[in-house]
């Protein structure tokens, strides 16, 4: 299964860059093979890794993916899912999202949300990092070499903080994130890579938690995004929630339990709702079936596709608003769109397909697997960045306008939405009062006029301006949105032509210090690292105990213990020695404990009588060594 590639040219092989679709519901990793982009699958052929993380107390380890998704049903309190909805947000932003999920955020989450899992608090980037780590592991196993560079996709309508949070997650997972790529753009790459004709393409991307629309012009291998729009709070999760809301009263009555107080029951209901949703994409009716723990009670309800369509009509309608805006922004009529490409699991819903067909007046393309197309596109972009090809070029745009706060809480736009990135703007700043040495700049993202209606990105403070009369300093501040859609700011004193120092206070998200700390923590915590560390510790302890026991046996004054006891200690030592070479850290620990107990009596006897009492509860190892 693993692929080993030889470099025929003798040149050092460029490092592997994989493409990762970090989804709300599922995540995937793909790579560029000789024949085209391919999803990396497990032994059973599954490409999807459910974006669920579960903390297991007993072994102090994390489960990610399918195992975590299964555990979610039985122990929902220890699992986190749909974490993408919380990336780059503060507690005030997510009240609506929290109503969709059974987990709670910890207090003091204004700037970065914290989730409690197994008595530890994790931020969304950390949880996403666990998922990324799983994908990284999968890719590394596949290539039989460590993969450490990746392209990660995000919804096109993600703001700066959400993009930064995704990049942070990659960093925490030990990945060098070469590029953040917009999901619909990636999908268009996968769709358009084999096509030679010029076309205007609309990508309708309706996923588990977000909705995006992007309109692109494909010409000679250039994929130019003309406009993008979306809603980062709209996805399959909302549809699931509609179904749950529809049946919640009946389910609670049937089992005589409140769903909000029983996460297990909630998860079972959620699972049944999702199954019914999937069924309704194929059949014109479905049965929602929920059983109690003991299987004695059962809730059953039929739902027809018509009922379902009515239930979700307004959700589907909400996706059309951004579509119309994107058409307007790209100055195109629906008739001018040559192709419509459908992406994301929610586009399997017949009503969604019908509405899209109605709006664009053409049959949407359904031939691409809506779950995989984004990851495949990411793999193509990864190949471009690895230097594999120069015939393709993505020209993406920034989804939201960038502005700065001016007098009276009004936002002055400096980079308009749908500007091709990288995009930059320069603004001149000066002082208001004599001898002022600092200037504050508040940067926001959004389309509205007032500061309160836009999304605060960060406050930048220009520091160390030499004291001068008011209005004399001339400081040019450059705002640059890079190819990832992430803002960087630099400033220069035009009088001295010196780089001006800037202090950045991001409004949401992690600071560099926090990330550093998390990186350290994650080394202690990462599942693999933990297992490795546990094994090493177990072996070390076993060796110490064995050494001590042997020493005690060899040195003890004759007659201190009888033959039988000696034999038992010897047997315990041999037993442990046989186990210590294996990877079974738990077994090593158990046998170490056995030896420790058996040798304790001897150790106590060896020690001076006065010490015996004090050392009663201590280990033989400590006794012998100390």
């Amino acid at each position: 299964m693993a692929v080993i590639e030889l470099s025929l040219s003798g040149q050092p092989k460029s490092p592997r860059v994989v493409g990762i679709d970090l989804g709300t519901t599922n995540s995937l990793v793909a790579y560029m093979s000789d024949t085209g982009p391919e999803v990396i699958r497990d032994e059973d052929g599954n490409g999807l890794v459910p974006s669920v993380v579960y903390y297991e107390n007993e072994n102090d380890q994390l489960l990610v993916g399918e195992a975590a998704r299964e555990a979610l049903i039985f122990e929902p309190r220890k699992a986190i899912y749909s974490v993408k909805r919380f990336m780059g947000k503060g507690s005030a932003d997510v009240q609506e999202d929290l109503s969709l999920v059974p987990f709670k955020i910890v207090p003091d989450s204004e700037h970065v949300i914290g989730f409690e899992m197994g008595h530890r608090v994790f931020t969304p980037p950390e949880i996403s990092a666990f998922i990324l780590r799983e994908l990284k592991k999968r890719a590394s196993r596949f290539f039989a070499e460590e993969v450490f560079q990746a392209v990660i996709t995000v919804p096109a309508y993600f703001n700066d903080a959400q993009r930064q949070a995704t990049k942070d997650a990659g960093h925490l997972a030990g990945l060098d994130v070469l590029r953040i790529v917009n999901e619909p753009t990636a999908a268009s790459l996968a769709y358009g890579i084999d096509k030679s004709n010029d076309a205007v393409v609309a990508v309708y991307d309706f996923g588990g938690g977000t909705f995006d629309i992007s309109i692109l012009k494909l010409r000679d291998g250039i994929f130019e995004v003309l406009a993008t729009n979306g809603d980062t709070h709209l996805g399959g999760d909302d549809i699931d929630n509609r179904l749950i809301t529809m049946i919640v009263d009946d389910v609670e009555r049937c089992f005589n339990r409140s769903l909000s107080e029983s996460p297990e029951m909630f998860q079972r209901t959620r699972k049944a709702a999702i199954q019914a949703k999937h069924q309704l994409s194929k059949d014109d009716h479905a049965i929602i079936e929920i059983k109690s723990d003991d299987q004695h009670k059962e809730y059953r309800r039929e739902i027809t596709r018509d009922e379902f369509n009515n239930l979700i009509a307004d959700i589907v309608e909400r996706t059309l608003v951004p579509c119309k805006q994107a058409l307007k922004d790209s100055d195109l009529a629906p008739e001018q769109i040559d192709e419509v490409v459908m992406v994301g699991g929610s586009t399997r819903i017949p009503l969604v397909r019908n509405k899209v067909k109605e709006l664009f007046k053409r049959e949407p393309h359904l031939e691409m697997n809506p779950d995989e197309v984004v990851a495949l596109g990411a793999a193509i972009q990864a190949d471009v960045l690895a230097g594999g090809r120069r015939d393709l070029l993505l020209l993406d745009v920034t989804p939201l306008s960038l502005g700065i706060e001016t007098m009276g809480g009004v936002v002055a736009k400096i980079i308009n939405r749908n500007s091709t990135i990288p995009a930059s703007a320069a603004e001149m700043f000066t002082t208001w009062v004599d001898n002022q040495t600092g200037i504050d700049i508040h940067v926001l993202q959004g389309e509205r006029e007032l500061v309160d209606d836009c999304r605060s990105l960060a406050k930048f403070t220009l520091k160390g301006i030499p004291p001068q009369p008011a209005g004399l300093p001339r400081i040019e501040v450059r705002f640059l949105i890079d190819a990832n859609g992430i803002l960087t700011v630099s400033a220069r004193d035009l009088r001295t032509n010196q780089e001006q120092s800037i202090e950045v206070k991001p409004s949401y998200g992690l600071t560099d210090d926090q990330i550093e700390k998390m990186l350290l923590d994650s080394f202690e915590f990462a599942e693999e690292d933990v297992l490795k560390r546990q094994l090493i510790e177990a072996r070390n302890e076993a060796e110490t105990v064995m050494r001590a026991a042997e020493k005690a046996l060899g040195e003890h004054p004759r007659g201190l213990i009888d033959e039988n006891e000696q034999l038992e200690i010897r047997r315990a030592i041999d037993d442990l020695r046989q186990t210590v070479g294996t990877d079974a850290s738990q077994l090593i620990r158990e046998k170490t404990t056995v030896l420790d107990e058996k040798a304790r009596h001897l150790a106590e006897l060896i020690m001076d009588g006065a010490l015996v009492a004090a050392l009663k509860n201590r280990k033989a190892s400590e006794v012998a060594e100390g």
Binding site: I222, E224, L385, G387, S419, I421, L480, A483
Partner: protein, 227 residues
């Protein structure tokens, strides 16, 4: 290098940051072939090697934009030196900015005016429209009031008169765009003939047309919101 300075009236000389060769405002160093940091003195027209004229072949501009994108884009500088990476991101962001500005006639004229030292045009009502504007504002107030009161007949009536006004304004916008196209041609002719004395008149005219245009567009938007 001397030629460039003569042609544009500006000194565009700079030094290649990679190999130290003296070069003009070229995108790449002719000596070592590496991408250059931006010089501060190049305007969007110069960036595209275009004269400062308003009739631009938009198709040719697009093709040039694509081919320069292929040369500058950060995607192709992933394993380059830090300096080249910076130059790539600077130059491609500048390219995007220049293309965005030059590809649209109105944005192009606005940009030319700013290059020629004109301040951003304030919204100003054309004098022949003053009376109409007054009536329009009344009509907008009327429809707002009718909507508030839920008076369906009144709303329908006000809507009809607004729709007529809207048609009228759209027509007016078309006229202004025609006049701007004429003025653009005059400007290009003046540049070709080095008729410097005509330039100021043409620029004043375009500046006025732009302020009328933005006024009317503002009105159109206000009406569309009510309809």
């Amino acid at each position: 290098m001397a030629d460039a300075a003569v042609n544009t009236g500006r000194d565009l000389s700079c030094i290649c940051a990679h190999c130290g060769a003296a070069i003009s405002a070229a995108h790449f160093c002719p000596e070592c072939g590496k991408i250059q940091m931006l010089g501060p003195e190049v305007d969007h027209f110069q960036f595209f090697d275009l004269p400062r004229k308003l009739n631009v072949d938009e198709q040719a501009l697009e093709i040039r934009f694509y081919s320069l994108s292929r040369e500058f884009h950060p995607d192709y500088f992933m394993s380059a030196t830090e300096l080249e990476k910076r130059a790539s991101i600077e130059r491609s962001s500048r390219l995007n900015d220049a293309y965005r500005t030059l590809r649209d006639r109105i944005v192009r004229i606005t940009y030319l005016l700013s290059l020629e030292g004109y301040k951003e045009s304030e919204k100003k009502a054309p004098s022949d429209l003053l009376e109409e504007v007054f009536e329009l504002n009344m009509a907008i107030e009327e429809i707002k009031a009718a909507k508030r009161l839920g008076d369906a007949d009144e709303v329908t009536e006000a809507r009809l008169s607004l729709e007529t006004a809207l048609d009228n304004l759209q027509h007016k916008l078309g006229e202004i765009d025609g006049k701007l196209a004429q003025a653009s041609q005059s400007w290009d002719d003046a540049v070709d003939q080095s008729a410097d004395q005509d330039r100021k008149t043409i620029l004043d005219r375009m500046s006025e047309l732009l302020s009328h245009r933005s006024y009317i567009r503002h009105l159109v938007k206000a009406i569309q919101e009510e309809l």
